[in-house]
């Protein structure tokens, strides 16, 4: 694997794929920059895997265009697309050992056997499985199979790498470890990567940009921080992280919660009914007199849960709504945690005061 591996931008335009009356993809467009790591995130049935299959050539859309670099590939059969892919269940050939699995794409490309041996070894070393070349697939653990699948997908130096929920079968600890490894691998090799997952934390951890997809449509395409801090719809705010929603009225660039005006960092985009996104960890418990420059919410503590690294408590607001509040279990924060049934004041920084359109 050369240091300067080629990578290609991907341009998806107007892809629609329907199964009968059900639209798995509805006029989807996406531009992926060369070398970018992009994640398609969505609930099951959202169309994220379908889009990946369209990129790989396994699913034939009704219409649209897919370009790898300058080349239109929409009608190109999968075996000519030259993209690497890691399958959800790894799809390692059970009748071949580790070496032959990884060597397979090279053999297909007519690479000389000495060269194959060298490249396979390099790819396996890259995923720390250099010592496992002669193993049968059924002698490997889940994590090892994952690495072999990864090695097989990159050994032929594809300019585009597709991954279909590659970590979903692993336990939490291994999954987190692999996330970092894949990220490093991507940094090292630099190929354009499209990654599919339904795990929002995984998406935020690994990606340059995340495309949130639902009902066959992109809801938002942004960098992880932007996506979390500035969700543009109730769906995204709800799907990524925890959120409570409070109804807000917007009139003449002023937003009011239960009649009280809110301090906003940005001008609201539209008038009428909107929703205030309240993330539990963004709320601060206010002591008497503090929080003059914050938006202030008052209510009563209903429930208190100790969760180790934080306290979670549910507050019944004076307006009638109920929200969750997370407070870190740091010593100074512990001091201000009220008891059940006590009134409480909560502060929300204007930067964290985010409005999204109410869903119709």
């Amino acid at each position: 694997m050369s240091e300067t591996q080629l990578s290609l931008p991907i341009s998806v335009r107007g892809i629609t794929k329907s199964y009968g009356r059900f639209k798995a993809l509805d006029d989807v467009s996406l531009e992926v920059a060369s070398g970018e790591f992009i994640t398609l995130l969505g609930p099951s049935g959202s169309g994220k895997t379908t889009l990946l299959m369209v990129l790989a050539g396994f699913s034939r859309p009704d219409c649209g265009s897919v370009r790898f670099g300058d080349e239109e590939v929409i009608r190109m059969p999968p075996h000519k697309r030259g993209v690497g892919m890691v399958f959800q269940n790894y799809a390692l050939f059970p009748h071949m050992n580790v070496f032959n699995n990884v060597a397979y794409p090279l053999k297909l490309r007519g690479v000389g056997s000495a060269d194959i041996a060298q490249r396979v070894e390099r790819a396996l070393n890259l995923v720390q499985l250099g010592a496992f070349m002669e193993r049968r697939v059924d002698q490997l653990s889940g994590g090892q199979r994952q690495r072999v699948a990864l090695a097989r997908a990159i050994v032929f130096e594809p300019r585009i790498l597709l991954m279909d929920e590659p970590l979903s079968a692993l336990d939490k600890k291994l999954r987190e470890q692999m996330q970092i490894e894949i990220k490093h691998l991507h940094e090292q090799l630099g190929m354009t990567t499209v990654y599919v997952t339904h795990d929002q934390r995984e998406a935020l951890t690994m990606s340059d940009r995340v495309a949130v997809i639902n009902d066959g449509r992109f809801m938002q395409l942004d960098a992880p921080k932007q996506l979390y801090e500035r969700p543009r719809s109730q769906f995204v705010a709800d799907f990524i992280g925890e959120s409570s929603f409070l109804p807000v009225e917007v009139e003449r660039n002023e937003a009011r919660l239960n009649g009280t005006p809110l301090r906003l960092a940005e001008q609201p985009s539209a008038g009428g009914h909107q929703l205030l996104v309240v993330r539990p960890e963004k709320l601060e418990v206010l002591t008497n007199g503090s929080g003059g420059d914050l938006n202030c919410l008052t209510g009563t503590v209903k429930e208190l849960v100790y969760q180790g690294e934080s306290f979670l408590f549910y507050v019944s607001l004076d307006g009638g709504a109920e929200i969750a509040v997370r407070s870190p279990s740091r010593r100074e924060a512990l001091a201000v945690v009220p008891e059940r049934g006590q009134p409480i004041r909560l502060g929300l920084h204007p930067e964290d005061t985010i409005l999204v359109p109410a869903q119709s």
Binding site: A56, P77, F87, F93, Y104
Partner: protein, 304 residues
């Protein structure tokens, strides 16, 4: 540990209850074995005892004296050797034809949607509902000189003289292939169904054309099913009786027909028993060799 337990537990040493637990494990194994015993007994009764008796009988002549004449008879006779050759020749050809016809059929079935595959499967299995004899006679009706196929072909002007399709080697092979085809298709279909389609997608993604993906990935993965079917068909072929007897025209004599002749020809069962023993030993020997050659046990176990 600062907390003091309210009750002091009974102190336990390393080997506590070890004997009792081992005893439980042993008893459980025997109980499991006990559950199998009716099946084992049945197999013993209906397989091993008769086969053993067959073996025993084959060493005695009509007067009940110990003899090898039942076996010696076979080595000397060109007719027996010819029968032996014919039996294997037919078995190889029928098995080969079943593979050539059954593999594409099973492949097609495995690729069809569930419902369509189910319906097609019924057509594959349907012949099992008809008696072997009826199916064999049906072939006679189709293949004979004034049968349907010859009549049609003459009427259509394809041929002038009727073809000799039955009462010979050809007829025997046709009839046997038809009867044995499902025995190949069923295990093969099951094996093909269990092949994850992602393997083919993976192969294709890695750069394999559909043809190469088929031969390098699908075909090797279907081999366990194919071997199971081949062994089943081949072994069934070796002992076939009705079809060659009816469609072979008397000229195609297979081993089982020779056994029938022997039962009628000789005063004791020894002659026929010896033939049965030879067939059994050759079949087992063949399985052993195939097993060594192809590591059938590994293949049969299938991918894990």
């Amino acid at each position: 540990m600062t907390a003091i337990p309210r009750e002091t537990p009974v102190p336990v040493s390393a080997g506590t209850n070890a004997d009792g637990l081992a005893e439980d494990a042993r008893r459980e194994r025997w109980q499991m074995f006990g559950l199998c015993s009716p099946a084992l007994l049945l197999v013993g009764l209906v397989v091993f005892i008769p086969v053993g008796w067959l073996f025993w009988l084959s060493f005695f002549d009509a007067q009940g004296a110990l003899t090898f004449e039942n076996y010696e008879r076979m080595w000397g006779s060109r007719s027996y050797i010819r029968t032996f050759q014919t039996t294997f020749e037919i078995s190889f050809i029928v098995t080969g034809a079943c593979v050539l016809m059954g593999y594409p059929l099973a492949y097609m079935l495995s690729q069809l949607p569930q419902r369509a595959a189910g319906i097609c499967m019924i057509f594959v299995i349907l012949p099992f509902w008809t008696s072997l004899l009826v199916r064999t006679y049906a072939w006679l009706v189709l293949l004979q000189r004034q049968g349907l196929i010859n009549t049609w072909m003459i009427d259509l002007g394809i041929i002038d003289e009727p073809l000799r399709l039955v009462h010979n080697f050809t007829g025997t092979v046709i009839g046997m292939v038809h009867i044995l085809l499902p025995f190949l298709v069923l295990p093969l279909f099951a094996a093909m169904k269990s092949i994850d389609r992602d393997y083919l997608k993976a192969a294709s993604n890695l750069g394999a054309s559909p043809t190469r993906a088929f031969w390098q990935v699908f075909f090797p993965l279907s081999l366990p099913g194919l071997f199971a079917g081949v062994v089943l068909v081949f072994v069934l072929c070796l002992g076939f009786y009705v079809t060659p007897a009816l469609l072979g025209g008397g000229k195609t004599i297979m081993w089982a027909m020779r056994i029938e002749t022997s039962v009628n020809l000789y005063a004791n069962w020894g002659a026929a028993s010896a033939l049965g023993v030879v067939l059994l030993i050759v079949t087992l020997g063949l399985l052993y060799v195939l097993n060594k050659a192809f590591r059938l046990d590994k293949i049969m176990a299938g991918p894990r």
